[in-house]
């Protein structure tokens, strides 16, 4: 009882001592803090090194999202690639947790250090694919999902992906 009372008094003292310490506040917007490249801000969709959309519409970001603010629909392009017919993020719900980036198997969805996205109209916080898709590769420069994956697309036949042998000749009986 007395001990806990002392502890409370010590707490009061400690807090009181902070009267003489400097404030840690960075005075944004006059002062801009350094934000690391992996800071979690506005979400973008990136392109692979060949300039094609990275997103394959696998839906993993959508299911990882704790506030369910990502919706998309898959489509298949003529060259065999999967792509999102639409890709929508409701930033008025987004909590910038980065789960989508973590879930993304193709490094398509990435969070950027831009967090300044205030709007007077909430509807303007709904970003469609044309708002999200950027021209670069973002943080991961070399990854190209289709060079690793076994799916055949135009320009990459079966057996041409990373570590793949040429297709088996089914009619051969050689050992």
């Amino acid at each position: 009882m007395l001990g806990s009372l002392l502890s409370q008094l010590r707490t009061l003292g400690t807090v009181l001592r902070h009267t003489f310490t400097r404030a840690e506040t960075v005075e944004y917007p006059e002062q801009k803090p350094y934000l690391a490249p992996r800071y979690r801000g506005r979400i973008v969709l990136t392109r692979d090194p060949d300039g094609d959309e990275r997103c394959v519409a696998c839906n993993l970001c959508a299911v990882a999202c704790p506030v369910d603010c990502i919706a998309l629909q898959q489509g298949v392009r003529e060259d065999g690639r999967w792509y999102p017919e639409f890709f929508r993020i409701n930033f008025s719900r987004c909590i910038m947790c980065g789960m989508c980036e973590e879930a993304c198997p193709t490094a398509a969805i990435q969070l950027t250090p831009d967090f300044e996205m205030c709007e007077y109209d909430r509807q303007s916080m709904v970003y469609e694919k044309e708002h999200l898709l950027i021209d670069g590769t973002g943080k991961y420069h070399d990854y190209n999902f289709y060079r690793v994956s076994g799916l055949q697309i135009f320009g990459k036949d079966k057996g041409e992906a990373l570590d793949e042998e040429p297709p088996v000749d089914v009619k051969s009986l050689l050992p």
Partner: protein, 318 residues
Amino acid sequence: MSETSTLVFGLILLLGAVGVAAGLTWFERRLLGIWQDRYGPNRLGPLGALQVLADMLKLLTKDDWVPPFADRVVFVFAPTAIVIAMLLGFAVVPFSPDMHLLDMNIGLLFFLGMTSLAVYSVLLGGLASNNKYALLGGLRSAAQMISYEVFMGLSLMGVVMLAGSFSLQDIVRAQEGMWFCVHQFLGLYVFLIAGIAESHRLPFDLPEAEHELTAGFHTEYGGMKFAMFMLGEYLGLILISCMMTALFFGGWLGPDFLPPLAWFLLKTGIIILFFILLRAAIPRPRYDQLMSLGWKVMLPLTLVNLAATGAVALWMEG
């Protein structure tokens, strides 16, 4: 004092109390900022002092909304009750030997009565909101305030015994030799804790408890009605500080190089600072801890204090 001067003084007191309460919101946020190594409001006016004005404007211009499911009359009445009760409490505060609105012979009881009235505000606000969080907040506040009122009243009885009067001016004068905070230390301690609980400020803001109850009894409140709850809370804080000054720290007594009023305000200010420090440092207890602290520790302490004081007083008279 003449009738006119009483009226003028009353008006000054009224505006002063409300003004200081409003100013306190800024003052408190700045202080908390300092103690938590940040700035607090610093954008509007010098040191951000005009923040109060901005907040006031914002609150004033907000939609005056009553939820459709609430009990309309009670819902609107509830926040006014706390402001009225707290302001009335100021009537008996002895600012200096001749500055007081009323010097009743039951001044202390009047103060206790007024603080007790404040519970209605919180309770009715919680009930009338017709919202589960508000109801829980209201319930908690009723239990908390009724419990702590018991020790608050009892803790002061030692002071009354020593002073031999319920009049606050008499009590202040009775401390000319030694402030009651010395021989009524236990009373002071209980009164301090009960005072925080009565004004349900942190760390005893369980009726509000934003982590559990959203915003407790005032979940459904907004705009000026919400502002009145806040005003009432800050008025309560000032009132408790004034009373503590008067009852335990010798009120306006002090060396002559400062006028009595200045002494009074200085002491009150330091106590307010202390309350803010408490808020900055101490975490909120659980509800059951609060109740058991009250009934299992505070009540016995008060009774011991009362018995001892009574015995000593009898022996002194003896």
